[in-house]
């Protein structure tokens, strides 16, 4: 096969990603002429569904957008709503919300590392196949995932679509015995989380350095989960309220999910971007574990995303332990905020990256307008840019099957949640 290859490659259904998408590549004269990450899952219209709803309905409804990151949706929504009410949650509520969020990072990242991404690097078609050769590693990953679920359940009543969050705090505080049992499980898992980082660092991860912009939150000297500023490694530093002045969402004809650009350039959100922008804010002990692997951050290798997820699992476990160290079951679980009309913004770090919400409420606290920008939408343009670079570097003279597999691996590396991304409203208007 010559380097002036011409042809088309289609991946009709992307496997091991959440939702329904496809990948079409057209190669002409040895170069990628056209590449479309095609999202064809129908729009879900959540923003429109929220109009007219009271705020508690918003918090519980947006959790249904995603089965893997419902806490992120709840937290972005509740922080936007509380900002409209000029309400600042108590330090206890802020700490427990952060702990609950850590649970979501742990379960989401564990699932992705072990069941979705690791099989790619080790040459398996599926996680069950991988489990035959790596049963202990898969079991360890699933144990860690279950701890994440336990944390969410402790605060939210259940791990899938939890119901514990409300304006002003939580509906109830976990009791002391539940918290003690949870803390013991977390404590017992720390060695496994450290071993996970070491194991992931030894995977045959391709060298694929690229230039990209890392975008994340920044949070008052803490590793960011719920911050009030959006930063990049290219100098961006804005309040979350100014998001729309710098980021542009737009429709492409082949996708039911919007694309997004930062100052007209693709950008990355998610665990690798978070670590690239906030490495120094990770605990010293964790940085020592990372440095022992020989892999350095910031990293330009997109495939280090899997290591970033393993690192954030360890971080989230130790952070939850720290946040609950002086746990007070008698703390006031919530304070009733006074309802006000207005516009509010919330932005939190979902497992896949920043999740930006804006709500306009009327004087009864009912939604007039909602806008939600999920991380997968924001990563779509970056994914296409990455695919062009990575596939070209991989070698376009490879067989179609090899290119197809490599393309899927690149997409899966972002852990895209297509179902989250397909909820926008202006479907027909943008098609014109």
């Amino acid at each position: 096969m010559s380097d002036l290859r011409t042809g088309e490659i289609h991946v009709p259904i992307l496997a091991r990603v959440e939702g329904e998408g496809a990948l079409d590549i057209r190669i002409r004269d040895g170069r990628i002429d056209e590449l479309h990450l095609r999202i064809f899952e129908p729009p879900r219209l959540f923003e429109k569904l929220l109009e007219g709803r009271p705020v508690q309905d918003v918090i519980d409804s947006v959790a249904r957008i995603c089965g893997i990151c419902p806490v992120a949706y709840q937290m972005s929504a509740v922080s936007a709503i509380e900002s409209i009410f000029d309400f600042t949650p108590s330090p206890w509520v802020q700490a427990m919300r952060r702990a609950m969020y850590c649970g979501e990072w742990i379960q989401s990242h564990s699932l992705h590392v072990h069941l979705l991404a690791a099989p790619d690097f080790l040459g398996f078609n599926s996680a069950p196949e991988m489990a035959k050769q790596f049963p202990l590693e898969v079991r360890r990953g699933l144990r860690l995932q279950s701890i994440g679920n336990d944390i969410i359940r402790t605060f939210g009543g259940r791990s899938v679509h939890p119901v514990g969050v409300r304006p002003g705090g939580f509906f109830r505080a976990p009791d002391a015995s539940a918290m003690a049992a949870l803390r013991q499980k977390i404590q017992d898992s720390l060695d496994e989380a450290r071993d996970l980082i070491t194991w992931v660092a030894t995977l045959p991860i391709p060298e694929d350095d690229q230039n990209f912009i890392s975008v994340s939150l920044r949070q008052n000297g803490e590793y960011p989960i719920m911050g009030n500023r959006i930063v990049s490694d290219h100098g961006l530093d804005i309040a979350i309220e100014d998001y729309e002045q710098h980021f542009r969402e737009f429709q492409v004809p082949y996708s039911t999910a919007l694309h997004a650009l930062l100052d007209e350039r693709p950008y990355l959100v998610g665990p690798l971007a978070r670590i690239n922008n906030n490495y120094a804010l990770l605990p010293l002990e964790l940085r020592e574990i990372i440095e022992a692997t020989g892999i350095q951050f910031p990293s330009r290798n997109m495939f280090h995303s899997i290591l970033a997820r393993a690192i954030e699992i360890h971080f989230a476990l130790t952070e939850t332990l720290w946040l609950t160290e002086q746990y007070d079951p008698g703390a006031t679980a919530y304070v009733e905020p006074k309802i006000k009309a207005g516009i509010g913004y919330g932005c939190t770090e979902a497992p896949r990256g920043i999740l930006w919400h804006r709500y306009a409420l009327d004087e009864q606290g009912h939604v007039l307008e909602a806008r939600i920008v999920p991380p997968t939408s924001q990563n779509q343009a970056r994914m296409e840019e990455d695919l062009k670079t990575s596939l070209t570097r991989f070698g376009l003279d490879n067989t179609d099957d090899a290119l197809r597999l490599h393309g899927e691996m690149v997409v899966r590396n972002y852990d895209p949640c297509i179902s989250c991304a397909t909820h926008f409203l202006d479907f027909r208007a943008e098609r014109q």
């Binding site: 091991r16 959440e18 089965g67 979705l116 996680a127 069950p128 699933l142 995932q145 679920n149 899938v160």
Partner: protein
């Protein structure tokens, strides 16, 4: 010591509650049996929080749609488990994938069992159960079938004749 793990699969909603309701009953029935662990799961993959070994056996209790008339109780193994009638999110690992993971990790096919009861095929048309009491006939039938299965398993594994119901 090998154990039998009984996992009720489901959620707090509608017919999907049956798996949890049945395991609620079974946890009482087998409370004194140290070799039987009963748990409810909202996602089958959560079972990996238990220290399951290849010597253990697993019984899943669930409701299902699309295999037989409503109320029919069926037993499956890994090789006879029918394909899902609806595609689940990859982020919500389904029973089939969980079973594949278990067998991949060395649990023999014959150590994995599924007992399920058929819910009405068209849940939008069928009467929606408002309370757990509405599900009582189905829960009772499925609990009895599961109990009989466990009694049989205990007699087989202990070599005793199958003539008494465990826990009674």
């Amino acid at each position: 010591m090998s154990r039998l793990y009984i996992f009720g699969l489901g959620s707090p909603y509608g017919w999907d509650r049956i798996g949890w309701a049945v395991t609620d009953q079974l946890s009482n029935t087998f409370a004194s049996k140290t070799d039987i662990v009963v748990d409810t799961l909202s996602n089958p993959i959560s079972l990996f929080s238990h220290p399951i070994t290849p010597d253990d056996e697993i019984l899943f209790i669930d409701s299902m749609i699309g295999q037989a008339p409503a109320g029919t109780i069926q037993e499956f193994g890994p090789l006879t488990l029918p394909p899902a009638s609806a595609r689940l999110s990859t982020h919500g690992i389904d029973l089939r994938t969980t079973v594949a993971l278990l067998t991949g990790m060395g649990l023999p096919d014959e150590h994995i069992h599924i007992i399920a009861i058929e819910a009405p095929a068209d849940t939008e048309q069928a009467e929606y159960p408002r309370t757990t009491q509405d599900l009582t006939p189905s829960v009772t039938a499925l609990a009895a079938a599961a109990t009989d299965w466990v009694v049989g398993w205990r007699e087989t594994s202990s070599g005793t004749p199958r003539n008494v119901r465990a826990g009674n």
